[in-house]
């Protein structure tokens, strides 16, 4: 299905004089054909040095004019190709292309054109001057072409990003999934409406206390009948960090093959905004009042993803829908884990519980990352790395000030939170450094033997 295609980008008039490295690499791309389709243009009189090749038009004129329909544009990769068996060598395509993209090979009496080397253009690595770049399409577009497995509309609050996250995650996970839910906001979406189902996969609603253990049992059942299934939990922080913490810890330690996604709205939101262990320091909730005696939550939040990292499971990651490509890649990695649990911790701003404007959820998600309040990292087999680097982080105050739940905070409070944010990031960076050192050592060791 057509989406955004990968594109071979060429800089204009940016080549060194008389350089033909790309053309030479191209001429060697195939044993059968020795004509290059990436052509250099060197005009010393005009000081012009550039390259030219087919730009894979969306409405190719060569395709239009071909009298036998031998030229086709592939829907999957967008590449325009010549079907040799149907080509009569009339050369009309060379008369139709305005962009110098198709050439007549006199020896073979057939036209030739660039086909991006089917996704791995040899010219790009051959150029040391940065003239050529093969820009790969964000795969997010591909997922968005996949079928929507959640029925249209939403029964969640206006602006709820958890619904968006669940919808997107289901597209990536695919229909061959069993979805596990626990009481909470998203269960409301997953459990159907009157007598109609709303999710196009199997859905298993669990209790607060037994999501991971239920999944364990279900996995064993499927294995017993010879099926390797993809089991995915989409549950909130109240369930995972608190009520079901013991159970998730047990499943992790046993190495159960589950995908566990937590949408962290930093509170028990479905039941009317009460605190959980992931509610941040200073936040107002109905159980962390603000007034003369109390000043919002007096404890800092529990670092749930870090705790899961300490369980040594094959894959742990943090994610948020403001970085959709990153989320998609993490889901994909989680789906590939064969020998244990994968855990994705999703920051999910709650306009209702956080007292934020309902149209701010994506912006809030992004701001959380850009202030380093919620760093985006992943750990494959314990090797941690940041997946999104923020070179100039904004002060966390900017993030806190967008939400009513922090309206009572003072400058002092902001500083305290900033300290927490900085020290958390520091720890992550140290872990990342250790991971890369371990990796280097492992490489060196294996090189020695």
């Amino acid at each position: 299905m057509a989406g955004l295609y990968d594109v071979l980008v060429k800089k204009y008039n940016a080549c060194p004089p008389d350089c033909r490295l790309c053309e030479e690499a191209c001429a060697h791309r195939d044993e059968k054909v020795s004509d290059a389709v990436m052509k250099t243009i060197h005009i010393p009189e005009l000081g012009f040095n550039g390259v030219i090749s087919c730009i894979q038009c969306s409405s190719p004129r060569c395709l239009e004019i071909c009298p036998t329909g031998a030229i086709v544009k592939n829907e999957q990769d967008g590449v325009v190709r010549i079907t040799e068996e149907r080509c009569v060598g009339c050369g009309m395509c060379t008369m139709a292309c305005p962009y110098g993209g198709i050439y007549y090979d006199r020896e073979r009496t057939k036209p030739l054109k660039c086909d991006n080397c089917n996704g791995n253009p040899v010219c790009v690595p051959a150029c040391p001057y940065g003239v050529l770049e093969f820009r790969r399409n964000s795969r997010v577009q591909d997922y968005l072409q996949a079928g929507d497995l959640l029925s249209p509309g939403t029964r969640a609050c206006a602006g709820c990003p958890a619904e968006l996250a669940m919808r997107f995650a289901l597209r990536v996970l695919g229909q061959d999934t069993v979805l596990f839910t626990a009481p909470g906001c998203m269960t409301v979406l997953a459990l159907g409406y009157e007598d109609k189902a709303t999710v196009a996969t199997a859905v298993y609603p669990c209790m607060f206390t037994n999501v991971a253990s239920t999944m364990t049992g279900v996995y064993r059942y499927y294995k017993h009948v010879g099926r390797d299934v993809q089991l995915v939990a989409f549950v909130g922080d109240a369930c995972s960090a608190d009520i079901s913490f013991q159970v998730i810890s047990g499943a992790a330690e046993r190495g159960e093959k589950l995908i566990y996604i937590v949408y962290d709205n930093e509170g028990c939101m479905n039941t009317g905004i009460q605190r959980t262990s992931t509610t941040p320091l200073g936040a107002w909730t109905n159980t962390d009042p603000v007034g003369e005696e109390f000043h919002g939550k007096s404890q800092a939040s529990k670092d749930m993803p870090m705790i899961m990292l300490a369980h040594n499971i094959p894959y742990v990651a943090t994610a948020t829908i403001a970085f959709l490509e990153d989320f998609a890649q993490k889901l994909t990695k989680a789906m590939r884990v064969r020998d244990g649990m994968s855990y994705i911790h999703l920051l999910s701003p709650c306009p209702t519980g956080w007292r934020a404007a309902p149209d701010m959820s994506i912006e809030l998600s992004r701001l959380a990352v850009e202030t380093n309040y919620f760093p985006l990292w992943e750990a494959e087999n314990g090797q941690l790395q940041l997946t999104v680097e923020i070179p100039n982080p904004r002060p966390v105050k900017e993030y806190l000030k967008t939400m009513g739940r922090f309206a009572h905070l003072t400058e002092d409070d902001f500083n305290k939170v900033q300290e927490l944010v900085d020290s958390k990031l520091n720890k992550i960076r140290h872990l990342a450094l250790m991971s890369s050192q371990t990796a280097t050592e492992a490489k060196t060791r294996s090189a020695r033997y």
Partner: protein, 415 residues
């Protein structure tokens, strides 16, 4: 909204695609008098040389029309048009209404008056039916005479030579007279001779006689020759006979304006049948080539679908790949323009057995011709169509046409 299209060739197809680019609503119906699915006549010579099989010809089959939400009715010939009632009448007497009508029924091969023509095995060559007749006739025969020296005649000659036939070309003046001068014609004639063809120049066919299994051909020069088969490739003439009495304005073809509109409201024409404005002067003329059919079909289709569009005007252009050689011509010919108003760059002699020529009007390229010179024909076409200003680099473009044309195109695209 019902769009009725007469014909299913290149122009008709182009119109269908454009209508469906714009809207999925309305009915689009193509009616052809032929029995075949849509194909391009340009591919036919290659059936003879077996570079392609008949099955590979079809540009669209039943599933294509379904996908395009259009219908194709074959074996239906339109015999008259009634603009007052907005109807066409078919050969079987039935009538069909239209909201918009596109006349894109193409052209017929021309046959000059020749004494004795009815009594011999002589064939025109423009449709698939013509090809099938020819293929049957070729079976068991060894030599073929081709009447004509234009592009299609030479494509046929090439196809037959490649298939091992003895070829005799009869041309009234010289080969590719309209595209090249005497010198280049001479080079091309040499090439055909080297490949075994015989060329009879300077005379028309006065009379033909069947003598056993051979045709005796008598030329106006006094020469005579014989061949087992005679094929005429003298060009095509628009099929407009059926429009007599409809009130539609015709000249040699159906006259159309920049929007491919005829003088009758909601009736359009495009392709080989149409006589539309040209690119340089805006004067109406015929231009029976594929690129023209595509462009005119697109413009007609867009206007039929309610999106007002104008054509830039047609440009004569042709490309011929034959026997390992290559010829490309586009736009105005140096031999035909007023040399005081145009600037011409041309090669003075043909010692390298190749030729190139550029014609400028002011700073704009208006014509080019190349024989056995490496070139991107499409890039040269771009420079003409986009009216790119070429001020200082004319001589350089002539000396190094490939690189400089590409550079000028890239530069123009950035603006």
């Amino acid at each position: 909204m019902k769009h009725l299209i007469i014909g299913c060739g290149t122009a008709a197809f182009s119109a269908l695609k454009e209508i469906r680019n714009i809207t999925s609503e309305g009915e689009v119906k193509l009616v052809t008098m032929e029995e075949y699915f849509p194909y391009s006549p340009a591919a036919l010579p290659y059936l003879i040389s077996k570079r392609i099989r008949e099955e590979d010809l079809w540009l669209g089959d039943a599933s294509y029309f379904e996908k395009m939400k259009a219908s194709l009715v074959r074996n239906k010939e339109v015999v008259s048009l009634s603009p007052q009632t907005r109807e066409v009448t078919y050969k079987d007497g039935r009538q069909e209404e239209y909201d918009t009508l596109l006349i894109s029924c193409g052209a017929d091969p021309t046959w000059p008056p020749i004494k004795g023509l009815d009594s011999v095995e002589a064939l025109g060559f423009h449709t698939l039916a013509d090809y099938e007749k020819l293929a049957k006739q070729l079976d068991g025969k060894k030599d073929v005479a081709i009447y004509g020296g234009g592009l299609v005649a030479l494509e046929m000659a090439t196809a037959l030579l490649e298939s091992g036939y003895q070829v005799k070309i009869i041309v009234r003046s010289r080969l590719l007279r309209r595209l090249f001068d005497k010198g280049v014609s001479g080079l091309i004639e040499d090439i055909f001779r080297q490949h075994g063809a015989h060329i009879y120049k300077g005379g028309e066919i006065n009379e033909v006689k069947q003598k056993g299994n051979k045709i005796e051909i008598l030329l106006s020069t006094g020469d005579s020759l014989s061949a087992e088969l005679l094929i005429s490739n003298l060009g095509v003439r628009p099929r407009i006979a059926f429009l007599k009495g409809s009130g539609i304005r015709v000249n040699s073809g159906v006259l159309v304006d920049k929007k491919m509109r005829t003088n009758i409201p909601n009736v359009y024409a495009a392709g080989d049948v149409a006589e539309g404005p040209d690119f340089f002067s805006g004067q109406p003329g015929l231009n029976a080539i594929s690129p023209n059919a595509i462009e005119q079909g697109k413009v007609a289709g867009a206007n039929m679908a309610g999106q007002e569009t104008e054509s830039n005007g047609w440009i004569a252009m042709n490309i011929l790949k034959f026997l390992g050689h290559s010829a490309f011509a586009i736009g105005l010919n140096a031999a035909e323009v007023d040399s005081t108003k145009y600037q011409v760059f041309k090669q003075e002699d043909n010692r390298d057995k190749c030729y190139k020529e550029l014609v400028f009007q002011g700073n704009k390229l208006v014509g080019a011709r190349f024989f056995d010179v490496e070139i991107d024909p499409g890039t040269i076409r771009y420079l003409i169509e986009a009216r790119v200003d070429i001020i200082d680099d004319k001589a350089l473009l002539f000396n190094r046409p490939v690189e400089v044309s590409r550079k000028l195109m890239l530069e123009a695209e950035r603006k």
